[in-house]
């Protein structure tokens, strides 16, 4: 049994596309939409969520045989809240500007449904190493969607990527104008809808009737 045997690989890579937390399982949508008007906060948010989900999964998985069933939600919330507090203090110390942009959404990782969903559905019934991989996989699957949405919104909305100008000045001289609508909140929903559309037309078995 290698550490990355067939089943573990499936656990890790499944959430990236086929079983993506945001566009298939419908989890963690709130924060996925709100922080994506620029690419940089999207990346930071993706990494923070990955870290929290992975470690929360490991902790709950280690404790899974000792937590009484009745109070498990409270235990999970406390573990998540502690981890999120750590992450938010780290961000405040090392990435203050991004932390300001993310505002309340760092705190809202606690109520991110991916977290509770994975803890309930996976960590309570699996060993720590598998739970860790599951956490990483789901965190990255969430991150990918954030990065795609952030990429298009920043590129079309401000003509920049990570704050650097990518659309050459010559375009603007010809009359190209940034699409200000892309910066506004509602467009995040529509970009995600387009991603869902593309994803479902390629994976026919996910379509709803």
């Amino acid at each position: 049994m290698g550490l990355l045997s067939g089943k573990n690989k499936e656990v890790l890579t499944g959430p990236l596309s086929k079983n993506n937390p945001v566009i298939v399982q419908m989890l963690g949508i709130c924060s996925a939409l709100a922080v994506t008007s620029k690419l940089e906060p999207s990346i930071v948010m993706g990494l923070s969520v990955t870290a929290v989900v992975a470690f929360a999964n490991v902790i709950i998985s280690l404790l899974r045989n000792t937590i009484p069933n009745r109070i498990r939600i409270i235990v999970q919330l406390v573990v998540c809240a502690a981890l999120v507090t750590i992450i938010s203090e780290v961000l405040k110390a090392f990435a203050y500007d991004v932390n300001k942009q993310l505002s309340v959404f760092v705190g809202l990782i606690i109520t991110n449904c991916i977290l509770m969903g994975r803890l309930e559905a996976f960590a309570l019934g699996n060993s720590p190493w598998e739970s860790f991989l599951d956490g990483i996989g789901n965190g990255l699957g969430y991150g990918i969607i954030l990065v795609i949405v952030g990429f298009f919104r920043e590129l079309l909305g401000s003509g920049t990527l990570l704050g650097l100008q990518v659309i050459p000045q010559a375009f603007y001289d010809f009359g190209y104008v940034n699409n200000g609508l892309m910066i506004l909140p509602p467009m995040a929903l529509i970009v995600v809808a387009v991603i869902i559309w593309v994803h479902r037309s390629r994976n026919k078995d996910l379509q709803e009737n």
């Binding site: 919330l77 507090t85 606690i110 109520t111 509602p186 995040a188 479902r200």
Partner: protein, 205 residues
């Protein structure tokens, strides 16, 4: 009085939890399939927001904020417990949800049955925690304004989910491209409703 009214109108229309901040999207998407359950969940969310925001406001201002403990004596003026706010807020919300669940189960069993699983799930509804975190960020002047902000956010959320449910009920008869059915079209409609709500953004009283 004027400030109360303007906070209320702002939180319902301009800073709508769903269309401006996307808070509570998960339950918004999952429960907006018919108007009746949407109305029930919206009422429950409003109620919990109205109850937890003043409690969290008082906790924030008399215990957690920097210098908030000065009423205990001079030695405590330097204490800053704000790093604990996430833990405290989520604990208040979770216990309050539990309390409401027990009260509703005892005194209104019919409502309890119709809400079912959604009642306990409110504890992890981001709109509730979001309300408390925004309250912390905006630093309201007194507890009255904080309660009105809670009420307004709740009603805004209720308005959004009921509107969405009404549209989705009608949507059953329309011809939508197959990959877009269900989740996809719901996202697009929410986006369009959001654009509609943006026309309130200049609103001032």
């Amino acid at each position: 009085m004027e400030e109360l009214l303007s906070t209320f109108v702002r939180s319902v229309f301009v800073e709508n939890m769903i269309f401006a901040y996307y808070l509570g999207m998960c339950s918004f998407l999952a429960v907006s399939k018919n108007v009746k359950t949407a109305l029930g969940l919206g009422t429950a969310v409003t109620f919990i927001l109205v109850c937890t925001l003043p409690i969290n406001y008082l906790l924030e201002n008399y215990i957690l904020k920097e210098g908030a403990l000065s009423w205990l004596g001079d030695r405590f003026t330097q204490v800053n417990l704000s790093f604990l706010s996430l833990l405290i807020f989520i604990a208040v919300i979770a216990s309050f949800t539990q309390l409401v669940e027990m009260v509703v189960e005892k005194f209104a069993p019919a409502l309890y049955a119709s809400l079912g699983i959604f009642l306990p799930l409110i504890a992890v509804n981001c709109a509730i925690l979001g309300g408390s975190l925004f309250m912390q960020q905006k630093a309201f002047a007194n507890v009255g304004i904080a309660s009105v902000y809670g009420l307004g956010s709740g009603i805004g959320w209720l308005l959004a989910i009921v509107g969405m449910a009404a549209i989705r009920e009608k949507l059953a008869y329309s011809d939508i491209p197959k990959p877009l059915k269900g989740l996809g079209i719901t996202f697009i409609i929410t986006g369009l409703m959001g654009i509609g709500f943006m026309c309130f953004s200049g609103l001032k009283i």
